[in-house]
């Protein structure tokens, strides 16, 4: 077993205790009148202003797995791994177009999840159910990967790691971290991650800024770092500092597809719906790029890890460990503790929001819709709290029971799957033209095509699901499978809608009206809207 890095561990544990206390105290923060309503536990009372939303969304979207995986991809492949940067640049202008509409219609009708909106807009229970299940399915492995982020940090810290430690000792720190997380999410709901996000984001900014200044100073400047990386890729005969011509399509389609998928994830929608006004949402789309800049700088750490010789000469080195190891090698011990706390807490915030989002989906769109239509708001809150616990236990079992590669594969598939809800959700925000059965068929076509294509991809690490890009039929370039599946989904939805409209197939009722999509806090639509409590 490796030596335990004591000063780093002490700093790490102190920060962990701090956020645990904050998590439990969060239930007293902006306490609401009606704590039994799901809006309170699951959306923080829909009360967050611009800055709280900024911290919450930043804490939510930029996860520990991102911190570990993005530089790991750059470490392993060079330029191709940098696609996370155009991805986050594209995302905010893109969602600026439709998220304000989603906020407005959800506020008017008291929708808590994207599947609630689909139910109300198309009057279709099956379509709403598949949107909800896709969301849950895509979120579960994502939660599991947050654990992988914590594990990477614990491994490098020297606690729990070691191949021959018995499984209980090995995973005890992980159990503790998750047990505590589950407890305060249960008691405080979305307020806990919202409050902890302040600490997380502050730590992350400090660590990244220090890292991109301090580490290059020690390594002899950016020129030397990129030089060393260029030599490394030349020797490895894989990857490089720029993209080969045949990878440009892959780069662009991965960026666009991931940007479109980002705000289809239930946890992103939860963060958006928790804000108090339409303008809060818009303002955030303009200030979120501050996090993208940080992510871009973080990606460069992958090159620094190469230049610092992390993992050099180790056969089959796990690139996921490259950045934690770089921190441990470069920083003084106490600051390594701060950096690891940033990653560890960076896992807790999104894991909490994801489990809340999955619980909201299950409660609203499976439990209440199909199992117990008479559920009161208090029932909903009780079920959602329980489900949030189950979801976390599920993720824990997943990580401990299956190998990490399976979690990574599934998260990759999750992005592809969640993108297939785009036509129904975003299409529905602008037009009622699509027929709900056409959308259902389009969703099914996209899911099957994407999963089948991804299954057929092998990589050195895994026999199936070994990548996310394949030839785009009709274009011949290699592109992101998720985006190709989305195109198929859209084509099927359009074609079948034309057919169904031609034969005058019966359509479901639409409970929304055009003005709902532009309602702002303080408008008549909201004044006259049934109070959320009474609405559902």
């Amino acid at each position: 077993m490796k030596d335990v890095n004591v000063p780093a561990l002490v700093v790490f544990v102190l920060f962990f205790l701090l956020v645990t206390a904050m998590g439990f105290l969060a239930s007293r923060w902006r306490r609401a009148d009606n704590a039994a309503h799901l809006d309170e536990w699951g959306l923080g009372g829909r009360s967050f202003g611009t800055w709280v939303t900024w911290f919450l969304l930043g804490g939510d979207l930029y996860t520990a797995y991102t911190f570990v995986a993005v530089p790991a991809a750059v470490y392993a492949t060079g330029a191709a791994g940098f696609f996370a940067v155009p991805y986050t640049i594209i995302a905010y202008p893109l969602v600026f177009l439709f998220l304000p509409r989603l906020w407005s219609v959800s506020r008017v009708h008291g929708y808590v999840t994207p599947a609630d909106f689909v139910r109300g807009r198309y009057g279709s229970r099956p379509l709403s159910l598949v949107v909800a299940l896709t969301g849950i399915l895509a979120t579960m492995p994502y939660i599991a990967l947050q654990l992988v982020g914590i594990q990477a940090v614990l491994d490098v810290l020297g606690v729990g790691g070691g191949e021959n430690a018995n499984w209980f000792v090995k995973d005890l720190p992980l159990f503790l971290a998750f047990g505590v997380l589950a407890a305060y999410t249960y008691s405080s709901g979305l307020r806990a991650p919202a409050l902890i996000a302040f600490v997380k984001d502050a730590l992350v900014y400090i660590v990244i800024i220090v890292a991109v200044i301090y580490i290059p100073l020690r390594l002899g400047g950016y020129g030397h770092i990129f030089g060393a990386a260029a030599d490394h890729f030349k020797q490895a005969k894989a990857g490089g500092l720029t993209l080969p011509d045949n990878k440009q399509w892959t780069y662009a389609t991965l960026g666009l597809g991931s940007a479109m998928a980002l705000f289809m994830y239930p946890h992103s929608v939860t963060g958006v719906l928790a804000s108090k006004s339409r303008n809060t949402v818009r303002r955030n789309m303009a200030i979120m790029p501050a996090y993208s800049l940080m992510l871009g700088l973080l990606a460069l750490l992958g090159f620094m890890a190469i230049a610092a010789g992390v993992g050099s000469g180790v056969k089959g080195y796990n690139s996921q460990l490259s950045v934690p190891q770089l921190f441990a090698n470069m920083f003084p011990d106490w600051f390594t503790g701060v950096a690891f706390a940033a990653i560890g807490i960076g896992a807790l915030v999104p894991a909490a929001i994801m489990s809340i989002a999955a619980a909201n989906l299950f409660t609203r769109n499976v439990y209440k819709e199909w199992l117990k239509p008479a559920a009161t708001p208090a029932d909903e809150t009780r079920i959602a709290k329980l489900v949030s616990l189950l979801v976390k236990v599920g993720a824990l079992v997943f990580v401990l029971g299956m190998d990490k590669q399976a979690a990574i594969n599934l998260q990759l598939l999750g992005g592809l799957w969640i993108l297939q809800t785009f036509v129904a959700i975003v299409g529905g925000l602008f037009t009622r033209w699509f027929h709900h059965w056409a959308l259902f068929a389009g969703w099914a076509a996209g899911m099957v095509y994407g999963t089948w294509k991804a299954y057929g991809l092998a990589s050195p690490a895994t026999k199936h699901f070994g990548g996310n890009a394949a030839e785009i039929p009709g274009i011949g370039e290699i592109g992101y499978i998720g985006l190709t599946a989305f195109a198929l989904n859209l084509i099927v939805a359009v074609a079948l809608t034309l057919v169904l409209r031609a034969v005058k197939a019966p359509d479901g009722p639409d409970e929304t009206k055009p003005s709902d999509y532009s309602a702002e806090a303080g408008d008549d639509e909201l004044e006259n809207a049934p109070e959320p409590v009474a609405a559902h």
Binding site: P86, I90, Y92, P93, T242, A252, A290, E520
Partner: protein
Amino acid sequence: MPSDQAPDKAVMPEPAGAPVPAVTPERVLAGLALLVPIVAMLWVSSYDKPDPAVAGMPFFYWYQLLWVPVSAVFTVAAYLLINRDEKARKAARNGGAR
């Protein structure tokens, strides 16, 4: 010569409560502002090259990093334009209700 009421009508602005058209200059400009960063990033061949490097960082990297704040400027512009547009719409609606 027009009748007595005609000059009155001529100086009157658009009737209060006239709906603002769906396509306004503000909306078009905001749409363009949002489109610029998306197109710039999808046009990979325009930036997939190592030179000119700045402070040792290849073009590919500093160019994309530079686009992060630039895209934020475009989004802020879109935000201001849309805000203006929505104020005008609200004023038109309230005028109609009066």
